[in-house]
């Protein structure tokens, strides 16, 4: 296990009577790309600002490299931030923007020039030294913000939706770039985003936040394959949740749907609790002609919508009792038929119990 770089213990932040962050405890390891993912207003920025020193927790403890920094002002923390709006100094050249932190920590002359040069090289902006921020494109400004933070070689870099202001194509490109830079410099990144795709492609681990706490903290694969709560299942990728009467049969959980059908999932997938459900991702479902042999779990239904999306075709299937399920089928792999299913056709939906997942009781409920 690598060293712990950042540790939050039971950190809570209240603004008046509103709780923005509600008792978060987590460890971020040295050199990790750690992401706080969640919808707007869930407390991501507030958490990040407390780590950066711009906000003080109402209660709880924040440690950096084993040292308690809960009440240390921002300028004394070995942490730098890439702000969502970049916050480049408009009256300083790119060179001076990047050199700002170095100069404040007393580094002089040639050393400043060398390190600023290195940082600009890292973000591929050599030659922009004498420009002013107003003369940069959004993507370039974003790189300068990154260089300005990285040049100080902080223990931890905080990034608050750094790609939020860029268009989709540039965002993807910069995402890959960010990941490369992080690997190159080996600095711990704590990254905030509400874009699950961004989080999945870049992160080592992701904390999925909701209403001031995180519901699951895991790697991208685990979050997708084994979402632990309804919220995570819905926020990270698409899923079908099957709710009903919960039971237990040997080493399997059972859920009996209102229609009377029973579906199963191995207990090894997780604890279903008293109010949980069994879920399954759309691509794990197969569509069969009614009566064909199923893979374990099976539900009858009617195709109500078909959308051809290139790589996949997406279906909405309505089962008994109005239950709607999302199914996606790879277009290369039409083993059962040579054509897409059409609305109105009767089908059997089937999947192997171990390909589902189990969500437990809601966190904090």
């Amino acid at each position: 296990m690598a060293d712990v770089d950042v540790r939050l213990v039971n950190v809570t932040k209240k603004f008046g009577d509103q709780t923005a962050v509600d008792g978060i405890t987590l460890d971020v390891s040295d050199g990790e790309f750690f992401t706080l993912l969640g919808p707007s207003g869930c407390g991501k920025t507030t958490t990040l600002r407390m780590i950066g020193g711009f906000e003080q927790p109402t209660s709880g403890l924040i440690e950096l490299k084993g040292e308690d920094v809960t009440f240390l002002p921002a300028h004394q923390r070995d942490v730098n931030t890439v702000f969502q709006s970049y916050a480049l100094f408009p009256h300083l050249t790119i060179f001076e923007n990047v050199a700002f932190g170095l100069r404040r920590s007393g580094i002089k002359g040639g050393e400043v020039t060398r390190r600023v040069g290195e940082a600009l090289e890292l973000v591929q902006l050599v030659g922009f030294e004498q420009r002013y921020p107003a003369q940069l494109s959004g993507g370039q400004a974003q790189r300068v913000a990154l260089a300005r933070a990285l040049v100080n070689r902080p223990a931890v870099l905080l990034l608050d939706e750094p790609l939020g202001a860029l268009d989709l194509k540039l965002r993807k490109q910069m995402g890959i770039e960010l990941k490369r830079i992080q690997r190159e410099v080996g600095i711990t990144f704590i990254y905030v985003t509400h874009d699950q795709e961004e989080a999945m492609t870049m992160s080592d681990r992701i904390a999925v936040m909701n209403k001031g706490r995180y519901e699951q903290l895991a790697g991208p694969e685990t979050l997708y394959e084994r979402p632990a709560t309804r919220f995570v299942a819905g926020f990270v990728g698409a899923s079908n949740l099957l709710e009903g009467r919960i039971g237990s049969e040997g080493d399997q959980w059972t859920v009996t749907l209102p229609s009377g059908s029973t579906i199963r999932a191995p207990k090894s997938l997780g604890d279903i609790g008293a109010t949980g459900a069994i879920g399954v991702r759309p691509e794990k479902l197969s569509l069969l002609e009614p009566g064909q042999e199923s893979k374990g779990n099976a539900l009858e239904g009617v195709v109500v919508d078909t959308s051809y999306l290139g790589v996949i075709t997406q279906y909405v299937v309505e089962g008994a009792g109005g239950l709607r399920l999302l199914v996606s089928e790879q277009n290369v792999d039409r083993t059962t038929r040579n054509d897409t299913w059409r609305p109105g056709e009767r089908v059997t939906l089937t999947w192997r119990p171990e390909h589902g997942f189990v969500v437990g009781d809601a966190v904090g409920a």
């Binding site: 950066g52 020193g53 711009f54 002002p73 921002a74 300028h75 004394q76 942490v79 730098n80 931030t81 702000f83 709006s85 916050a87 480049l88 100094f89 408009p90 009256h91 700002f100 932190g101 404040r104 920590s105 002013y132 107003a134 300005r148 933070a149 100080n152």
Partner: protein, 289 residues
Amino acid sequence: MGLIRRHPALVPLLLLLPGITWLGSFYLAPNLQMFASSFWSGSLENGFAFSLGNWVNYPNALGTYQEQYLRSIQYGFAATLICFAIAFPLAYFIAFRSGRARSILLFLVVAPFFTSYLLRTIGWRTILGDESIVLGPLKSVGLIDPSARILDTPVSVVAGIAYNFVPFMILPIYVSLEKIDRRLLEAAQDLYASSWGAFRRVTLPLAAPGIFAGSLLTFIPAIGDFVNAELLGNPGTTMIGNVIQRQFLVVRDYPTAAALSFMLMLLILIGVTIYGRLLGTEELTSKAI
């Protein structure tokens, strides 16, 4: 409309037309007329005659009134410094710390304008008078000499000028401070600047255009002011504005008055240019946006 569509280059011209007409008739024409009259000789009774040889009006006027020029510069300078010392902290407070009181405070800054300039200045006679609320208590306690006075001294003149022009310093500084993105200050602190460091490296440079504008708006009218010296001063505090006013309206020596006015304008122009260079404001204003 058709004309504009065919000649889009006309648009700026049309937009400028009212301004040009106004300035042409009420600024440029009188100035030219005044410039011409500075080369006059003669008197109101015997009539004036124009001759380029009358350039001597300039050195003559300067020779006679250099003391008043010098005094105006000193008073204007002192008043501008006082205004800055009052205005910057106040503007800073209103921009950064005032919360919901902001609009009330801004209103209070401009509230004096609802009363006439003359009346307010005369009001200062009461405030600064020998037995006034300022001096009276101090004298009765024995803190200062019973014969001490402020009214009709350079102090009261400079105080009056500073009082009258301080809003012109506050407002531009406030505007420039208000515009500063608060996240820039957080960014500075994130990059190891202390609060003072962030102020010096970020707030102050970004406020420079406001400071520049404010000090011009204060210094220029202050240096040409005559009301405060007239109402709050003594014959020994006469400023160049008083001289010009008297030459125009009392003595009616138009050539001398005109020459004095032009030298004052030139003086201000030179001063402003040097000041602008020193502060590098052109760069600042174009890049701070």
